[in-house]
C-alpha cells in the first residue's frame, strides 16, 4: 500500500472515529445525565426519594450494562435500521454506541452527584432553594470535577467500543484495523492504526484530567 494512500485512509478513519465517539458520547449524556440525576434524587437518601422509580431505572440500567457491546450491536440492528435507514457505517454505529454509553454515563453521573456533601445541600434547602436550584446550582456545580472525570472515562470507553464496531463494518479506525490487519494480513497497517487509537485515547485522557484539575476549587491553585 502506498504511504500517501495509507495516510489518507488513516486521516479519514480518525475523522470517522472522532465523529462516532463525540456524537455518541454527547447523545449518551443527553440521555444519561437526566437519568443519573433521577437516580440520585430518587434514591433513599436523595432529595426526593422514590423507591419504585429508583428500582425501575436501576434494573433497566443494569440489564443494558450487562449486555456485551458486540451482542448489543447485533441485537439492535433492526432498531438501528429503523432510525438511520441502514445497519452499517459510521452513522449507524452511533445508535448502539449511544445505547451503550447512556447507562454507563447515568451510573457515573449518579456516583459523582452522590459525592456532594449532604450538609451543603441541606444548607441550600435551609435558604429556601427549590429542587431545580439545588440540582443545577448546587449538586451539578459542586460535582463538576468528578463529572468531568466521568466524561473522560465515557469518551475512552466509547472509543474502545467504536473500534469493536469495526468487526461488523462500523467504520472508523477499528474498521481499518480489522480489514487490513485481520482479513488482508497487512500487519503494518494494523499496527499504525492501533497506534493512532492509543494516541487518541492518551490525548482524551490527558485533556480531561487537565481541565478537571483546572476547575477544581477544593485544591490546587
Amino acid at each position: 500500500m502506498i504511504f500517501k494512500d495509507m495516510m489518507t485512509m488513516l486521516a479519514e478513519g480518525t475523522r470517522d472515529t472522532l465523529y462516532m465517539v463525540l456524537i455518541s458520547t454527547l447523545l449518551g449524556y443527553v440521555i444519561g445525565l437526566p437519568l443519573g440525576i433521577l437516580l440520585t434524587i430518587s434514591d433513599v437518601d436523595g432529595i426526593s426519594p422514590n423507591k419504585v422509580l429508583y428500582k425501575i431505572l436501576d434494573i433497566i440500567i443494569n440489564i443494558t450494562r450487562s449486555i456485551p457491546f458486540l451482542i448489543l450491536l447485533i441485537l439492535i440492528m433492526p432498531f438501528t435500521k429503523l432510525v438511520v435507514g441502514k445497519s452499517y457505517g459510521t452513522t449507524a454505529t452511533i445508535v448502539p454506541l449511544t445505547i451503550a454509553a447512556a447507562p454507563l454515563i447515568a451510573r457515573m453521573v449518579e456516583s459523582s452527584l452522590k459525592e456532594v456533601d449532604k450538609g451543603v445541600i441541606e444548607a441550600a434547602f435551609s435558604m429556601g432553594a427549590g429542587g431545580f436550584t439545588i440540582i443545577w446550582k448546587v449538586m451539578v456545580t459542586e460535582a463538576r470535577t468528578s463529572l468531568l472525570v466521568g466524561v473522560t472515562i465515557a469518551l475512552g470507553t466509547i472509543l474502545g467500543y467504536s473500534a469493536m464496531a469495526g468487526v461488523i463494518g462500523g467504520g472508523g479506525l477499528g474498521d481499518i484495523a480489522i480489514r487490513y490487519g485481520y482479513y488482508r494480513y497487512e500487519t503494518g497497517v494494523m499496527i499504525v492504526t492501533v497506534a493512532v487509537l492509543v494516541v487518541l485515547m492518551q490525548v482524551l485522557q490527558w485533556a480531561g484530567m487537565l481541565i478537571s484539575k483546572k476547575i477544581d476549587r477544593r485544591r490546587g491553585k
Partner: protein, 253 residues
C-alpha cells in the same frame, strides 16, 4: 417581652425517629428582638428543634407557626419560612466551588430573585462588617474555620431573615477562633436581631441570652432569664448539667 410580636412558634410538637421520641410535646415561642439560648446535654434534641423551626425536619404531632400563620407541608409555605428563617450550621456548609461572594449572593439572587447589583453591594458591606472584605474572591478552602463561620453568618444575613438560628456554630473551631465568631453574634444581639442559639459556651450564653431553655431528653426541663438559670437553677438536672462545666480544685495530700 411578651408585648412584642411573636415571630415563630413551635406548638406541642412531637418528633420521632422510628419509634424513639426525640421531642415530646415540646413548645417554644420566640418574640421579636429576643435572644433565646437552648442548652442541654448531647443528643437531647437541640439541633432537632432548630431544624424543625426551619422546615428541614418533618414532625409527627403539633404545629409550627410563623407570625401566626401555620406552616404546613406545602412547598410554598416551607419556602417562605426558610427565606425568613436564617440558619447557621456547626460545620459552616459553604459551597466549596463558589467564591465567598458567590456563596453569600446565591440565595438572594436565585431564591429571592433580587437585583444582582444591589445584592452584591450589600454582600460587600456585610463582609466588611465581619472584617473579611479582602476574602471576597477567595474560595472556602482558603479560609480558616473562624473566617468560614463568619462568612456563613453573613450568608444567612444576606437574605434579611427575621430570625436567625445558630446550631453550635463554634463547636468545630479552635479555641482562639471561637471569640471572633461569638463577637459577631454579640453584635447582632446588640442590634436587636431575633435569634435562637444552641451553644455549649456557657459564659457566652449567660452574656447573650434574654431567655435560657434547658432541654433534657426531649423535654423543656427549665426555662428562665440568664441569671435565673445560671445563678439559681431550680431543677436538680440543671444543677448537675451546669456542674459539668466547672472543675473542682485538685486536693493533694
Amino acid at each position: 417581652m411578651s408585648k412584642r410580636e411573636e415571630i415563630i412558634r413551635v406548638d406541642h410538637i412531637t418528633k420521632r425517629y422510628d419509634e424513639n421520641a426525640v421531642l415530646d410535646d415540646f413548645s417554644l415561642s420566640v418574640h421579636e428582638g429576643e435572644v433565646v439560648v437552648i442548652v442541654g446535654p448531647s443528643g437531647c434534641g437541640k439541633s432537632t428543634i432548630l431544624r424543625i423551626m426551619n422546615g428541614l425536619e418533618p414532625i409527627q404531632k403539633g404545629e409550627v407557626t410563623y407570625r401566626g400563620e401555620k406552616v404546613d407541608g406545602k412547598l410554598g409555605s416551607i419556602t417562605r419560612i426558610r427565606e425568613k428563617v436564617g440558619m447557621v450550621f456547626q460545620s459552616y456548609e459553604l459551597f466549596p466551588h463558589k467564591t465567598i461572594l458567590q456563596n453569600i449572593m446565591l440565595a438572594s439572587i436565585l431564591v429571592q430573585k433580587r437585583d444582582r447589583r444591589e445584592v452584591k453591594e450589600e454582600a460587600l458591606q456585610l463582609l466588611a462588617r465581619v472584617g473579611l472584605s479582602e476574602k471576597k474572591d477567595a474560595y472556602p478552602r482558603q479560609l480558616s474555620g473562624g473566617q468560614k463561620q463568619r462568612v456563613a453568618i453573613v450568608r444567612a444575613l444576606a437574605m434579611h431573615p427575621e430570625v436567625l438560628l445558630f446550631d453550635e456554630v463554634t463547636a468545630a473551631l479552635d479555641p482562639e477562633m471561637v471569640r471572633e465568631v461569638l463577637d459577631v453574634l454579640l453584635s447582632l444581639a446588640k442590634e436587636g436581631k431575633t435569634m435562637v442559639i444552641v451553644t455549649h459556651e456557657m459564659s457566652f450564653a449567660k452574656a447573650v441570652a434574654d431567655r435560657v431553655i434547658f432541654l433534657d431528653g426531649g423535654h423543656m426541663e427549665e426555662e428562665g432569664t440568664a441569671s435565673e438559670f445560671f445563678d439559681h437553677p431550680k431543677t436538680e438536672r440543671a444543677k448537675q448539667f451546669l456542674h459539668t462545666f466547672t472543675y473542682d480544685k485538685v486536693e493533694r495530700e
